[in-house]
């Protein structure tokens, strides 16, 4: 028998409480090394699409907001294209990075992203995915980054037909992935565990 030789992925380790030193040094006042924290700005004046703000907090099993978490988001532009060399369907909006990184506020635990509402993108079988934003969360005590998605409450029809949301067997958990809307501001609170535990993904 031929033995298949593959390498193993480097195992994950917690980002620890001081992830800011490496990823958002200016945020904690360590100035002068990097001009600007990477991922701090996703849009500029020329970015196409509907401007939105995404806010939220990440809660632990007691309902206490994490104050040392860092979140990254990845999303399509307003036309549904990703600003990535792996995007083969066309050219994404050059004025939109599609990727953002924000630490939570050290006192309140709140995060905030200024971005645009994404267009929809296809599922591998050709069905359409509802507009969504990919989230990745790291913090002290999180041994491997948590993946989830945020969906939009006004997209009821698209959400109902979304192939990923459709995979959630326990339908009572679907709302954990749907933000709350107030004008152009969406609130997406993430519960790591407990009754309202957010659906996290193995992607």
């Amino acid at each position: 028998m031929t033995k298949l030789e593959y390498l193993k992925e480097s195992p994950s380790q917690t980002a620890g409480p001081y992830v800011h030193i490496g990823c958002t040094p200016n945020f904690i006042g360590n100035m002068g090394i990097f001009k600007e924290d990477l991922g701090a700005r996703m849009v500029n004046e020329q970015t196409n699409g509907q401007r939105i703000t995404i806010k939220g907090r990440v809660f632990d099993g007691t309902g206490t907001p994490l104050k040392d978490a860092m979140l990254e988001i990845w999303q399509a532009d307003s036309e549904g294209l990703f600003n990535s060399p792996s995007e083969t369907r066309g050219d994404a909006d050059p004025n939109f990075t599609g990727w953002g990184r924000q630490p939570v506020n050290l006192e309140t635990g709140e995060f905030c992203f200024e971005t645009v509402k994404p267009g929809s993108v296809p599922f591998p079988d050709g069905r359409v995915q509802a507009p969504h934003i990919n989230f990745w969360i790291v913090a002290r005590g999180i041994n491997i980054g948590l993946n989830t998605r945020m969906y939009f409450p006004e997209e009821e029809e698209a959400n109902a037909a979304d192939p990923v949301l459709g995979r959630i067997e326990h339908r009572v958990r679907v709302p954990t992935l749907i933000a709350k809307q107030s004008g152009d501001t969406y609130t997406f609170d993430i519960y790591i565990q407990g009754e309202n535990e957010t659906v996290f993904f193995d992607i």
Binding site: P124, Q129, I192
Partner: protein, 252 residues
């Protein structure tokens, strides 16, 4: 910032990633690392095959890097001064699970100073701050997947987990590949450090071979005589399947 203008051509096509071996990675709940108890999901993760939302990801270009981003000995130091401690070079190869080099991978690092103190307002450890050491740096792998940076060896330090838990000397690594599903944060330890097998964070990993992957080896061939010792630290990101019918399979 416009990432697009800094990007280079894809070197792999946008196929889905190999599934993650969740038993090889640390379990979310590992009670000896106490903070994980309330910060670990209790319900099963939802699995689904990668979509274009996961196979794409941001890629960064060399032109985002400052001149001293890869040199932690100097990048926070006053002119003519440098950080205190054992000077080291950390270098290695970033590969995927098929042993293919990962070019253009952004590698961000952060660490404590030689005394084991972090430049962070929340770190109150009594070791002094080094006025010439900031503790962060970044590099991007070259076209063959290699990276190198210069720093000082971080000190071990105590932390409030058990009554007498110490972290081994370590450097934090944050890695980007070519797709968002490859995102990884890990830590590098130093060969021969007796704290490695005692550390509750190291021990969130069950398999000794997996732990071994995080231990950098002293590399005397790459030392700079009378200056800096070298440590070799290779890392592996998830591999990708070719998309058989949509794209030409590269290298096939």
């Amino acid at each position: 910032m416009r990432q697009g203008s800094e990007m280079s051509k894809p070197t792999t096509n946008a196929g889905p990633f190999f599934p993650r071996d969740r038993n090889w990675h640390p379990q979310a709940l590992s009670p000896n690392y106490k903070t994980s108890v309330l910060r670990s999901p209790q319900k099963a993760l939802l699995s689904f095959g990668n979509t274009i939302s996961e196979t794409t990801g941001p890629v960064f270009g060399q032109n985002m890097l400052g001149e001293l981003d890869h040199d932690l000995v100097l990048n926070y130091a006053k002119p003519g001064e440098s950080a205190l401690g054992e000077r080291i070079i950390v270098h290695g190869h970033v590969l995927d699970e098929e042993a293919k080099p990962v070019p253009n991978a952004l590698v961000e690092v952060w660490q404590a100073n030689a005394g084991g103190r972090y430049r962070h307002k929340k770190d109150g450890y009594l070791a002094p701050l080094d006025p010439n050491f900031g503790g962060c740096g970044r590099v991007i792998t070259d076209e063959n997947g290699y990276y190198a940076f210069r720093t000082i060896r971080p000190g071990p330090y105590p932390w409030p987990n058990g009554v007498n838990d110490w972290r081994p000397s370590h450097i934090h690594f944050s890695l980007f590949g070519s797709g968002f599903a490859q995102r990884l944060i890990t830590q590098m330890y130093f060969e021969g450090d007796p704290h490695i097998p005692m550390c509750p964070i190291v021990r969130t990993i069950n398999d000794p071979e997996a732990i071994e992957m995080l231990v950098a080896k002293l590399d005397m061939n790459h030392t700079v005589p009378m200056d800096a010792r070298a440590y070799r630290f290779d890392m592996v990101l998830r591999g990708r399947r070719s998309t058989m019918f949509e794209n030409r399979m590269e290298g096939n």
